[in-house]
């Protein structure tokens, strides 16, 4: 028997690490990975609450979150490739125009 609080705390730690990476990191790929870390933290709390309330739909929602994350990763990495092709850099501070 593990208190639900432990799972929620772990998920909170992962989410905070993701936000910190999003703020601190300057490499656009690492920033993207921090977003994935945040999504993973949220998924853990979905599964933990599903177990707490005996509602299987929580796990189905994790499935949907993963689908959205996959779509986001495909489009985001394509955008990163397009940005690198025109700017020759991955540093977000050097990317200051929305125009490609």
């Amino acid at each position: 028997m593990i208190p639900l609080f432990y799972y929620l705390l772990l998920s909170g730690i992962l989410f905070v690490c993701g936000v910190l990476g999003f703020l601190i990191k300057r490499n656009i790929i690492t920033i993207f990975m921090s977003i994935e870390l945040m999504l993973n933290g949220v998924n853990l709390s979905f599964v933990a609450f599903a177990a707490q309330w005996h509602a299987l739909s929580g796990q189905v929602f994790v499935f949907f979150v993963m689908v959205v994350a996959a779509a986001e990763a495909a489009v985001g990495l394509a955008i990163i490739i397009a940005v690198y092709r025109t700017r020759e850099t991955l540093n977000v501070d050097r990317v200051n125009l929305l125009k490609l």
Partner: protein, 175 residues
């Protein structure tokens, strides 16, 4: 007791991987530590009884998505991250704000909520039950996500292809 030891072991790997993602300066090291986080999260899902979610976590997240990341890192030949000073405000205001928020959430969970203990394998999420939900109750969202994936694939192809290749149209010399 054994359950708690397993939880703490995989939780420690999770936290260590997340912190390592922040500390490393080369993106490939961050990607590898993120894979460690995702794999140990799959073990946590198994502890909660979510078998299907654990399998999908390993296949989709640690497999497909992270392979996409590693391929992009190698394709762009990403080197060490260069430190620039453009983000002082984000660090000075954002980092303490995030830390205070995290501590507040943890404090609320600890003292203001009466959550119960979750037994091992509390809710069996085997593929049979998940499929019944997914193809019965959530049929419309499921179909909508398939459209979303299709749009994402087309968007990725258009964005990542070279502009002149798009302007030229499909190749004629193939036949």
């Amino acid at each position: 007791m054994f359950h708690l030891i397993l939880f703490l072991f995989f939780g420690a790997i999770c936290v260590a991987g997340a912190v390592n993602l922040l500390v490393q300066s080369h993106p490939i090291n961050s990607a590898l530590s993120l894979i460690a986080v995702m794999a140990s999260l799959a073990a946590e899902y198994l502890l909660l009884g979510a078998e299907f979610v654990a399998a999908v976590q390993v296949i989709v997240y640690a497999g497909a998505i992270m392979v996409l990341f590693v391929i992009t890192i190698m394709l762009l030949n990403a080197g060490k991250e260069e430190r620039t000073k453009g983000s002082r405000v984000a660090i000075l205001i954002g980092v303490p704000g995030v830390l205070i928020g995290g501590v507040l959430v943890a404090w609320t969970l600890l003292y203001r909520s009466n959550t119960q203990a979750v037994p091992i394998g509390a809710l069996k999420g085997d593929p049979h039950d998940i499929a019944r939900l997914l193809f019965h109750d959530f049929l419309l969202p499921f179909e909508v996500t398939s459209v979303l994936i299709l749009i994402a694939i087309m968007g990725a192809v258009v964005l990542a292809s070279r502009p002149e290749a798009v302007a030229r149209g499909p190749r004629k010399d193939a036949e």
